[in-house]
């Protein structure tokens, strides 16, 4: 077994304390006995795995923890305000787009035919409500 293969196997396994009847495990153990550098690698890896899990003693919450959480909750009004602030850019863009369309929109067919000022008079005359 080559060193690279041995180290890949060591990285892939969570623990080397697996079945010793496995041919690959036996081969790996044989390699570790003959290769000092891979044995060092294996020892480092085992130590790191132990340190990763065992380094932290679980902390316990104190009796006032829930009160602190409740006190940190954002005010509903503040939340609405924040939501409004998040929406503000979108609303502004929408307003600007509407204003821009209003000033640059093409004239309607009635405006083309009769002119913008005559449209209302024409409509009134057509409906019989005019003078």
């Amino acid at each position: 077994m080559k060193c690279q293969q041995a180290r890949s196997l060591l990285m892939a396994s969570q623990s080397r304390a697996t079945s010793t009847t496995n041919p690959t495990t036996r081969e790996l153990d044989g390699h570790l006995e003959s290769c000092a550098e891979c044995a060092t690698f294996a020892a480092r890896r085992d130590t790191v795995a132990t340190a990763l899990g065992g380094s932290a003693q679980p902390f316990l919450p104190d009796p006032s923890f829930s009160a602190r959480v409740l006190a940190r909750r954002p005010d509903p009004v503040e939340q609405l305000g924040n939501a409004g602030l998040k929406l503000l850019p979108g609303v502004l863009v929408l307003l600007l787009a509407t204003a821009w369309l209003g000033t640059t929109a093409p004239p309607s067919p009635l405006e083309v035919l009769f002119g913008a000022e005559d449209t209302t008079a024409w409509l009134l005359a057509a409906s019989g409500a005019g003078p």
Binding site: R7, G53, F65
Partner: protein, 187 residues
């Protein structure tokens, strides 16, 4: 040392029926602060224990736990009672821890905290302590789940709500970096 899975099952066996969570969540949704406070008290030990896996300073664990419950409170409507509340809470907590680790600058203070935390263990040699301190916190997060908890890629993806591809890529990178660190000084 107990794993998170063992801790979860032990707590679930020890406490009142799961329905109690649903009732407390429903009451909290209706605006009952007492119900939310009861929900926090019911699960605070589990959240602290989980956060302690990733942070070595009490203030960091406290902050991560507070973030978790604040997120729970602001997303109570998104919890559906068809899954146990503990599972959802675990997911929220893990993601809060990950975000916190991802944001944390890699400072001397963090490294020192890690070194102090592992110093009590006589089996940890100086070189390994240095190696651990130099690991990216996000990589350490995944390595804890993979190496210590023994979760598979699929389990991590499910519990974090990430895609399996995402977990696979991150796990591959974390292991590759760890291997490079372990090989330092070796041929």
């Amino acid at each position: 040392m107990t794993t998170i899975a063992a801790m979860l099952s032990a707590t679930m066996n020890a406490i009142a029926p799961v329905d109690a969570d649903a009732e407390l969540v429903a009451a909290a949704r209706r605006g009952h602060d007492d119900a939310f406070a009861a929900l926090v008290r019911r699960h605070e030990r589990r959240v602290f224990a989980l956060a302690s896996r990733f942070f070595h300073r009490r203030e960091d664990v406290e902050e991560a736990a507070q973030d978790t419950f604040l997120r729970v409170w602001s997303h109570l409507d998104s919890w559906r009672a068809d899954a146990p509340f503990e599972h959802w809470l675990t997911r929220v907590c893990l993601n809060c821890c990950y975000r916190r680790l991802a944001k944390a600058p890699k400072t001397e203070e963090l490294e020192e905290a890690t070194l102090v935390a592992v110093e009590h263990d006589p089996t940890v040699t100086v070189e390994v302590r240095r190696l651990l301190a130099r690991l990216d916190p996000r990589d350490r997060f995944l390595l804890v789940l993979l190496e210590v908890e023994g979760w598979s890629i699929a389990e991590i993806a499910t519990r974090l709500g990430w895609s399996q591809t995402n977990v696979k890529v991150r796990a591959f990178r974390a292991r590759r970096k760890l291997r490079a660190r372990l090989e330092e000084g070796l041929s």
